[in-house]
Subunit: 196 residues, 2 copies
């Protein structure tokens, strides 16, 4: 296996990158100045040394606290529970939420051997205890495992005076009824909101 | 700019990789074991040290001669002229060609300041001289610059007894007339081949 083939096989392991894209990328890197390859290699190789989980919420950070947790303007009475650090970035990009986050690190998936104890659920419990949380928004993905995890969390805090909600399901903004799947249509009907 | 943002901006420079794919890749790398990141970084950082142009044809190789040039079974009387090393891989994958290659390293593009002297054209001339080439297949891309470069090469060897050809233009195999553009349809008509 040549150096080029090895690089292509590494790149192909990335999500959404097939063999063709990986090949294009490898040739692009080779076609650029070596400084580009060195800088890119540096960034990739040092990523894990530079970035660590936030000690409070588990989001990625280069310090001890992530950007959200170290921001005094954020509403600490609300915690949005997500599966992965990238979900925080997506929710932040919407500009809609001013509370804090908690990164589970995955979802409960018995088939894959992932139970609640493998996730950051104990730390969520102690946070809720300590911070006097009033609202939990469970933003796990709308999948079977994501739903089960959301239910598990809801039950965990059922005896407390906490508002627990889940992200709304429905049509994507700018979407087309014609292209929406049956389940999404059904959910958008069930979750219909009064007009005016 | 965080380490993650820097990596995303590097990855976004790759062809076909937008900000969204780059973000997904960066988070994927961070989510994997550090060994994966280190190996990937190693491959990328050492690529230019491991791979160099073949001393004969300019294709990428880890030795002095590329795989094609060091293969004694290949027909040395034919040279297929391509723009980039990746074009060699694409043509080889077709399994149709048994001759050798010559990588120009680009195309003549006066607007970008690329003239014949910036390309591996002098080395093509000395190869043809030395190897007694009988056939040249010009496989530059079917673009304005690719066509101009093909014409330039054809004129360069016009006074010699060399068969010079260009890749056929027409419909892609398995394609659909309905989706082909006008120019391709026109070329496929002009280049129509007798049946039976």
């Amino acid at each position: 296996m040549t150096a080029l083939d090895r690089l292509i096989s590494y790149l192909s392991r990335m999500p959404g990158i097939g063999k063709k894209s990986a090949t294009r990328m490898a040739y692009y890197i080779l076609g650029q100045d070596q400084r580009f390859a060195r800088s890119l290699a540096d960034e990739i190789g040092s990523l894990h040394d530079r970035i660590c989980p936030c000690s409070v919420c588990g989001n990625y950070t280069e310090g001890n606290l992530c950007e959200v947790c170290s921001d005094r303007q954020r509403d600490r009475s609300a915690i949005c529970v997500v599966e992965h650090p990238q979900d925080v970035a997506v929710l932040e990009a919407s500009g809609e939420y001013r509370g804090t986050y908690h990164v589970l690190g995955g979802v409960i998936a018995p088939i894959d051997g992932v139970g609640p104890e493998q996730l950051n659920i104990a730390s969520l419990q102690s946070r809720v205890e300590k911070e006097g949380t009033r609202e939990l928004i469970v933003a796990t993905n709308p999948t079977v495992d994501g739903d089960a995890t959301a239910l598990y969390i809801a039950r965990l805090f059922a005896d407390r005076r906490i508002t627990i909600s889940r992200l709304a399901l429905g049509l994507p903004v700018g979407g087309d009824l014609e292209y929406a799947d049956r389940l999404t249509i059904a959910r958008s009907l069930r979750g219909r909101v009064p007009l005016g």
